[in-house]
Every structure is written in C-alpha cells, then in structure tokens.
C-alpha cells in the first residue's frame, strides 16, 4: 500500500507540516528530521514549587528535579504559573520507517526543567504507539499525544496540585511565564470600561490584585488626578463591583493585613505613573497614616514638624519603595528599623515612652515636655500651649469647634459642605454621624438615623438631612441657604414665605457671618466670665445634647400633648424642635453685648437657613438647663436670654417643653415661662403659630417671624 506513493515518509512529512505549519527542519541535509516546539500551557494554572536552595546539592546530572513531591519542610517558594517553557521535539524518520522502524524521538526543554524520567518515558511512547498502530505512520498521533500530555504537565503535577522544579531554573521559568502571559495579554483586545474604547492589550494594564483591565491612558488620568488632589482613598481598582467586594473586607481602622483596596506603589509604577507622582502617593499615604493615629508625636522644631519614629508607621523610603518589588519594600523597612532601634532606643529602654526621635531631622526629644531629650530621670511637665496661640489661631480653633465634627477614630475635624449627616472621614475612612460624632457601622450607617429593629432610636433619629447645605455659612455652593430652608420647611408649607427674608442677608453681606459669630461667641462667653474657657468648651461639646432633646420632643409631645395628631404629628414636632433650637441660638446671639440689632438677627436668619444643629451655637439656654441645672452661669445666661423678650421665649419654647417631661425636678423654669412654653407647644402642634406671630412680631423684625412659622 505504501508503495503506491513515492515515499511514505514524504507523504507523512507533507501532511504533518500542513497540520503544524511551525514545524522546522533543523538539519538541511536530513529532510526526514523535523523539529517542533510543543507549548506547555496547562489548562489550569499549576502551582510550581521551588524547594529551598539546599537541594542544589542533588546530582546535577539529573536534568531537572525529581517528582517526589513535597519532601521539604523548609521554606518553599511557590508560584502559580500558567505557562511553562515549551518542549522541543525532534522526530527523525529513519529509512525503514514506517514499516520496520519506529521514529527516533529526542525531547528537550530549555531550561531543562523536565525530569529525566519523564523525557525518557515520552521518548519511549513513540515506539509503543507505533506498534499499537500496527507499524504505521505514527507522526501525527505521537505529536498529538505529547500535546495532550503537556496539558496536564505530563502527569508531573502531584495530588496536591503542585509541581516541583529545581530552584536553579526558577528565574528562567518565572521569566518565561511572565513573558508568555504578557504576550498573550498584549495580543488580546480589551474594552476599557472608562473610555469605553476597545484597546489593544499592549496599551492596557491588568490590575495585579483583581485582574480588571483598563487602558493605561485612563488609569494614568485618573490616578494622577487623584494623587494630585490628595484623594488617596480613590487610588484603587476602578471597576464598580471590585470596590464593593473589597470594601466589605475593609475595616475602618484600615489595617494593613486586611485585603487591601489601595494599589501598591510598585504597581503604579508599572502602569506607568511618573515616579514623582508615585512618590507623592507614598508620602501622602504615610502622612495620612500618621495623622490617623492620635498617638503620633510630632517634632517640636518649628521648621521640621516631622513625626517621631514609631514602630507602627514607618517612613517609606521613596526610591526604595519604587525599586523594590511588591511586599519586599515593607520588609526591608522592617529590617532597617530594627537596626536603628537597636542602636538608638535600646540604651534608653526604661524611658522608651518618653524619648522620641524625629523621623525627619533625628532630633531627640521628650515626648512629654517636647524639650530636647533630657534623660529619663528628669521630671518634666507637658508644656502649656494655650498661651502661645495667636488670635488668628484661636479664631480658627474656635471656628473648628463651632463648625466641624471630629472623626471618632482619628479626631480629624470634618466640616460638612452639603449632603446628609453620614460622613466618611477623609483621613481614615471611618463612617460617622456629623451631628453627634458617633461611629457608624460601614455596613449600615443609616441605622443610626432610623429606628433600630428593637424600636430604639438614637438622638439623631430622622435627622439624616439636617444641615443639608453644610455647616457654616461659607460652605456649600450657590445660594444653598434657601434650598436648605426649603428642605426643612416643606413639612410646613407656609414656610415658603420665609425664604426670601432668609436669603437677603447672605446675598448682601456674606462676610457678616463672621461678625455674627463673634457676637455669638461674646454672648456665650459673657455669662460665663468666672469660667469662660471651660464654659465655652462645654457649650461646644454639647451639640449632641440638643439633638437628643429635640428627638425626645417627639416622645414628649406625644406624651404631653393629648391633642397632637399622634403618629403624623410626631415627626413634625421633631423638626419643630430642631428649628426651635436654632431660633434659640439666633436670639442668643442677637442678645449679646455686641448686638447690632438688625444684623444680629439677620445673621441668625442666615444661619438658621443652614444650620439645623443649633447645639454648637452660642447660647441655647434651655439645653444647658436640662443638662446641668445647677450651673449658675448657665442660669444667668438663660435669664439673660429670657430678657430678650417674649418673642424669643416663644422661639425657645419647644425645646424647653421637650426638656420638661424628662426633667421634672428642674425648678429653673418659672411658671410664667413654663406656661408660655406649654402654650406654644400646643400651638405648634396645632399649626396655629401664624396667629401667634401676628400678635408678637411687632417687637422684632421679620426674621423671627420666619422662624416662628417654621417652628
């Protein structure tokens, strides 16, 4: 049969080269020897072990390592590989092939990672197959056989799914894998989900941690921008669901051990981002970390202000991080730090807590008195810094007290510019409540503002949207004040009329707030003269209390006001309470010694539009009252406030009424006042305040009228 053709070997070779066009002919003088590279791309990535280097002592003649499985307990180096170096196959068809002679097979690999016995077995497969076929042309069958064997790495993968390879081939094998992956990646086309363009793999980047693919241009744009803006938290994978899954794992404390969402600097360099940008990223990250730690001590040298060395946060070595691959950077840092620790802090062990060494300028100082290090036996006291503050600093501190809420985790002050009261710390990503600074569960932060499953409510119940237009008058955008009013007012439709009045002062004199604020401070401070400092702090700190009072009011109103339309009226009453607290504040300010009649009130209106909180305000006397009835200064303050006239009484009414049921023993309210309060609550609950206003509005300008309507 074979004789029908010129030569069966020619026939076979021509059909083989048709099937495998990559077949080569290594020896031009021997047309019957062909060579073929069989790629080894296991269908499932294989874990490849590189036993510790001590194994190098094994006989070098054994080209490759044994397959004996994990015989090593020592440190094992393992990698997930999808591509192994291909197998070089040489098939030589002798003159008597195929009838009387099997093909001669030579198998090799570069590097020779394939164990000798495997090579031998593969080579012996050829005669066996040839015989099974009845001594016929076996070329295709054999090549196919080798290819299939390559799919499971020639059965070399142990039961545990691992392949052991001599460590001396490690670099070559890993290199091959990386190159092969890269080549496969670059050949592909990916739809970048950011610019929505199909992009060649060569201009794309696959995220190392989650394997999402984006085009390099988009990633550069985004990350450069985020790093420039200092929004370090945004430097993460940009796929929508990626963050969610990883976010779940993210703890508020942001431990490094947790699966991280941020991107390693080395990956940023790979994208590639500019080294300068990556450096900034590393620095900012370090800084953020330091700032999130309340215990960080800073260098007392005014020109330095570096952080003291600490075990927890290590200063990144900019370039080192850039050069080092992945995790090794931090490890290297570790070592370095230990070395330093040995030379410097050991001798002072007993005083370790006191001695601080600046990371930047290596200044050694005492962390208690911030003087240069005086040895551990010197008694020192913390330096008082109060007196050293300039008025400007004091003013900004004061402003921060009034218009910011500290993060419960890192104490970073946050000022809300708009939106709801669920905040996320820009520094440590803690979720917290803007009203009371409570830590909120990232999983369900809104619980705090809603009713708990067991029916309990916090002081911030239903107050998610208070202060929606921001805290302070210089925040937010546009003429947000009006809108803020609207939001608060929509429950009481007639309030619409209040808006223009409220807007006017803000439009005309934006800077007026400063003065109004000053006036308010003064008003707050004045009655406290004997203990001005502590008192003010007390006021500032009590913000949440007013909130609680306001929330109580709902309950209080339900209890005390039988005529209240029970269910429906309660939420309205809460709003009323908040608004009343605000009123209170406005009046307290207006009544201060630096009162500038219209202006004080105008400022009040202006603030009222944006501030639902009231608690931070200068003088909400009733709240103070409820909290600490025995404080004479506050009593005085309240009286002072009361003297401002009935209008104000009326404004403060609901808050006081809310307090009453909870504090029946409080003898501070004189009966007349109390009667007023009760009367007002009733009116408020019955939506009758308009009538009341008409009687009363004659002794002040229209701003309070606006308030009255809201309340």
């Amino acid at each position: 049969m074979a004789d029908d053709f010129d030569n069966p070997r020619d026939v076979e070779l021509s059909s083989l080269s048709a099937i495998y066009p990559e077949i080569q002919n290594p020896d031009p003088h021997d047309p019957y020897t062909i060579a073929l590279d069989v790629p080894v791309n296991p269908s499932q990535a294989v874990t490849v072990f590189f036993p510790a280097a001590s194994d190098d002592a094994s006989p070098p003649g054994a080209s490759g390592a044994g397959t004996a499985g994990p015989r090593e307990q020592g440190p094992v180096d393992s990698h997930e590989l999808a591509h192994l170096p291909s197998i070089h196959l040489e098939i030589s068809l002798g003159p008597r092939y195929p009838v009387a002679e099997p093909p001669q097979i030579t198998i090799s690999a570069n590097p020779p990672w394939l164990p000798a016995e495997t090579v031998k077995r593969l080579e012996e497969d050829a005669p066996r197959l040839w015989q099974e076929m009845g001594c016929d042309m076996v070329g295709f069958t054999y090549i196919d056989h080798v290819q299939q064997a390559a799919d499971d790495v020639f059965g070399l993968v142990s039961d545990k799914g691992a392949l052991e390879v001599d460590p001396k081939h490690k670099i070559a094998i890993l290199d091959y894998d990386i190159k092969a992956r890269r080549a496969a990646f670059e050949k592909g086309t990916f739809g970048c989900e950011i610019c929505l363009e199909p992009k060649k793999g060569s201009v794309c980047h696959r995220m190392l941690d989650c394997a999402h693919v984006f085009c390099v241009a988009c990633l550069q744009d985004f990350y450069n921008n985020a790093i420039k803006e200092g929004d370090i938290a945004a430097v993460r994978c940009l796929a929508p669901n990626c963050a969610k899954e990883r976010g779940k794992a993210m703890s508020p404390g942001r431990k490094r051990k947790k699966p991280r969402t941020f991107i390693n600097p080395s990956e940023l360099l790979q994208i590639p981002l500019d080294q300068e940008v990556v450096k900034r990223y590393v620095t900012l990250k370090y800084k953020t970390e330091l700032e999130s730690d309340k215990n960080t001590i800073y260098c007392p040298r005014p020109w330095c202000n570096g952080a003291a060395r600490s075990k927890k946060h290590r200063k990144p070595q900019g370039l080192e991080l850039a050069e080092a691959s992945d995790d090794s950077a931090s490890e290297e840092d570790d070592d370095e730090d230990h070395a330093e620790g040995e030379t410097k802090s050991k001798p002072y062990k007993p005083a370790e807590d006191l001695l601080a060494i600046c990371e930047e300028c290596s200044f050694a100082f005492c962390s208690r008195c911030t003087q240069s290090w005086h040895g551990e036996f010197v008694r020192c006291t913390p330096r008082r810094e109060k007196g050293e503050l300039t008025t400007e600093e004091l003013a900004s501190l004061e402003y921060m007290k009034m218009h910011t809420t500290p993060c419960p985790t890192c104490a970073a002050p946050a000022q809300k510019t708009h939106g709801c009261n669920h905040m996320i710390c820009y520094r440590c990503q803690s979720h917290f409540c803007y009203l009371c600074s409570a830590w909120l569960d990232p999983g369900n932060p809104y619980q705090h503002f809603n009713e708990a499953p067991d029916g309990r409510v916090t002081g911030c119940y239903m107050r998610l949207w208070e202060l929606e237009m921001g805290d302070g008058d210089d925040v937010g955008y546009g003429f947000a004040g009006g809108a803020g009013g609207q939001v608060a007012a929509h429950a009481v439709p007639p309030a619409a009329g209040a808006l223009p009045q409220e807007l006017i002062p803000e439009i005309i004199e934006p800077e007026e707030e400063e003065e109004a604020q000053d006036a308010r401070h003064a008003a707050a401070a004045q009655p406290h003269e004997p203990q001005a400092d502590g008192g003010q702090v007390g006021i500032a700190r009590e913000g949440p209390l007013v909130l609680r009072i306001a929330a109580h009011q709902a309950a209080g109103a339900g209890r005390g006001g039988p005529r209240a339309r029970a269910g429906a009226a309660a939420p309205g009453a809460v709003r009323g309470g908040a608004r009343a607290a605000r009123n209170n504040q406005a009046v307290g300010r207006g009544g201060g010694p630096q009162q500038q009649a219209g202006r004080g009130a105008g400022g009040g209106a202006q603030r009222g539009g944006q501030r639902g909180r009231g608690g931070r305000g200068g003088g909400p006397p009733h709240r103070q009252n409820a909290n600490n009835p025995a404080n004479p200064a506050e009593r005085a303050q309240r009286r002072n406030a009361n003297n401002n006239g009935r209008n104000q009484e009326q404004a403060g009414g609901p808050a006081a009424a809310a307090v009453d049921p909870d504090d029946p023993g409080d003898g501070e309210l004189d009966p007349v006042h109390e009667a007023w309060v009760r009367h007002f609550v009733q009116l408020a609950l019955n939506d009758e305040e308009d009538i009341l206003l008409e009687e009363d509005s004659d002794d002040d300008d229209g701003d309070l009228q606006a308030y009255g309507r809201w309340a």
């Binding site: 510019t417 708009h418 947000a480």
Partner: protein
C-alpha cells in the same frame, strides 16, 4: 476631551437602544453634560402611568467624578427628597463609591429600580419610609395622588433651580452622603 467622547458614546448607547421606560434627550444639543431623562413609572407600582423627569448633570471631570441625578418631577418616594430639589439617595452616586467605569445606563436603571423597589431602610424621607413600611395602602394612595398631581402630562424639567454645580469638591468632610451634589 475624552470625557466628551465617552459621554457621546453613552448617549448613543442610551438613545440607540433605550432601556425600558427610559428616554434620554439633550436639552441643549451643544452641551452633552446635561441630560434630560424621562422615566416611565414601572408597571405594577404606585408610580405606573406617571412620567418623571430626571436631570442628569455630568461634571466636567466625568467619568472620574460622579454624575448628579435629580428628579425634576415631584415624587412621593422614601429615597427622593419630597421637595422641588428631588435629590436622590443612590449608593453608586456617592462620591466615595463612584467608579469611573460605572455607566449612566446602569445609573438610570438603578434609579428606575428604586421606583420599583423603594429602600425604606436607607431613606431620605424618613416619614415616607415609615409609611411605606407600616401602611403600604396609605403610601400607595399618596404616591398615586402625587403621580396624578405632578407626573401626568408633558414632563417639565425647568423646575425652579439654578445651575447644578458641576464637579463639586468637598474640601474637607468626606462625603456629605446621599444624592451627591447637583442641587442648587
């Protein structure tokens, strides 16, 4: 520049094969940063039969910054402010959650989904959420009466509001929460 290109692509995506109940148009052909969307109330809900106007404002930094979406038509819904602002509380629009690879199509679908399934546990209007949970009949009645009052007839987008501040940044405080920005 790339922002315009992407928006154009998304616009094509939304107009060429519009998803059920969502119609997108540009109020001003030369400005792709402002979309007017008409949302049909999903069948089988209290909003069925209503046509709701949505204003989508894309910041200049889009898609790096989240779009702002507000209801131009008043709607009685636990997750939409019950006022002329129509702010929406939608997790994927919050600045800290926004991912540049989120598409407007999925944003709009998420909004429509919100009509089908209000999220009373994450409310903007606690009172309405409360009602939704406790007295669905009353809620449906109110929602329908809002539909009858506001969401019938031609959709108006020019609710009294100013220009939304595109691409607002918060200086300091992290996220203000809910419907991020876009209101005036």
């Amino acid at each position: 520049m790339s922002s315009q290109k992407r928006i154009a692509k998304e616009l094509v995506e939304c107009t060429a094969s519009p998803p059920t109940g969502i119609t997108v148009s540009l109020p001003n052909d030369s400005d792709v940063h402002k979309w007017h969307v008409v949302l049909d109330g999903p069948e089988g809900t209290a909003y069925a039969g209503g046509r709701f106007g949505l204003v989508v404002s894309l910041p200049i930094e889009y898609p790096f910054k989240a779009p702002a979406v507000t209801f131009a038509t008043r709607i009685y819904h636990p997750n939409v402010t019950n006022d002329s602002l129509g702010s929406i509380c939608l997790g994927l629009l919050k600045s800290e959650n926004w991912k540049p690879s989120t598409r407007l199509l999925s944003v709009l679908e998420a909004v429509r989904n919100l009509l089908a399934e209000p999220q009373p546990d994450d409310p903007l209007e606690a009172r309405i959420a409360d009602e939704y949970r406790r007295d669905r009949r009353e809620f449906d009645k109110n929602a329908r009466s809002y539909v009858a009052r506001y969401a019938k007839g031609p959709v108006k987008f020019d609710a009294p509001r100013g220009e939304p501040a595109a691409g607002e940044r918060e200086g300091n405080g992290g996220d203000g929460g809910g419907a991020s920005g876009g209101r005036a």
